[in-house]
Symmetry: C2
Subunit: 241 residues, 2 copies
Amino acid sequence: MDTPYIFSKLKNKKTEIFTSTKINEIKSLRDLSQPLFTLRKKTLLITERDKFNGLYLVHSGLLKQSHIRKPGESEIITHFFLPGDIIGLDSICEHHYCGPVTSIETSSLSLIKFRNIDEYLIAQENHNKLLRVLSRSIRTEHARLWRTLSQPSDARLAYFLITMSNKFSELGYSPNAFRLAMSRQEIANYLCMASETVSRIISRFENEGLLSANRHDYFILDPIGLATIAKKNRSSPNFSG
Amino acid sequence: MDTPYIFSKLKNKKTEIFTSTKINEIKSLRDLSQPLFTLRKKTLLITERDKFNGLYLVHSGLLKQSHIRKPGESEIITHFFLPGDIIGLDSICEHHYCGPVTSIETSSLSLIKFRNIDEYLIAQENHNKLLRVLSRSIRTEHARLWRTLSQPSDARLAYFLITMSNKFSELGYSPNAFRLAMSRQEIANYLCMASETVSRIISRFENEGLLSANRHDYFILDPIGLATIAKKNRSSPNFSG
DNA sequence: CGCTCGTTTGAAAGAGGTCAAACTTGGTGG
DNA sequence: CCACCAAGTTTGACCTCTTTCAAACGAGCG
């Protein structure tokens, strides 16, 4: 199947709408941030040696955070940051960021500067916002990692695609037709699998009529079927629901 | 090898010392908490339906938090809580706790009540403490899960034992001789492996002279060798350091 | 003393990783 | 405009690790 017509739309859509109820707190954080700036693709935003100086709010584009590995080793990707995501939550009150952050495609961001956390957060209101965001972040990250950890690779990938789909949906895009700028290798590193496995499973999904994938363009044909695979897990093959 | 002499000491040691510099913030949080209470072994502290009403500070004993699974499925253990740990960090500003929390052995705890988070956290000081604890918790949990996720099972188990060793060391106990009240099955669920695999790897470690394990009592004979196994990973067999 | 539950050990099967080769695509230069 | 090159992707064969199934073992408890 060729690239669906909707992809051409997606590629040009540059809006930065924050429509999700989930990110209400972020909206107000955005008001406190510095002006937008643009980062060209494959550019380092944060190096491993940068000191923590604030949170970055992603307005458009895609970035990744990775762990430092020895040369020759495959990189470990800990986060993909999409529009609406916040970079640096795990580094508040620490001296340095967790790992280098690189843009995968051209992205626009704004900085919420933290010269001194105590100085910045004088308003009780800001404190509470931040607490909420942090606590939610712990929960969702933990849930995501546990899902990844405890499930076979097809379920991991299906869950990843559904998560992406939901994110795009929240941002006002189509949940079933989207472009993922990251490579297969990067998806594999994010999900802790070999890139060959990602390829194989995508091929299998295509054969089963669940989705259509052409390089960076994905088209989910059977969201329910995909969700069924994402929910299945090792210890309960006869899953019901 | 028989149970080393030190175990008898450990079993009777009921102190609740918080000597770690890592948990300075917790110390002061403790001052704000309600009196101690005791929970008998294998007792539910938090059910899946309990509404969030505060953080629990563990003074002694051992508890586990799990995820709700359908009957017949093996449980997923997301956390073990040792003395000095805080239960509920991922549930601040949420309505419910993440999953049921059960004591594995007799434990003593205190509650830091949060009738209303805004009411409780009037003092800026408390806010900052909590921010620090939360941010650190995101980072350490993330690191732990990534380690678990990306490494073979022997490295997972070695890392788990080292983590336990460090925790006991921080609490003022011996780092090389300790009692873990959880069963093999529970360790396996925590590390996302089959309990048989845990058994096999422990046997292997014993044969290799790395440790001696007798039911719930563990005696680390070669901490450096264990650390080497914990650090090795899939993509770099020729690890150096 | 015998029961039960957790643990250990063995054998077989399956999932995923590694290695290697073929293929596709986008960019470059003639 | 076309040929070529480099990088990413796909596919196949093989191998290793882990799980699963099954049975034996051991300790604690009535």
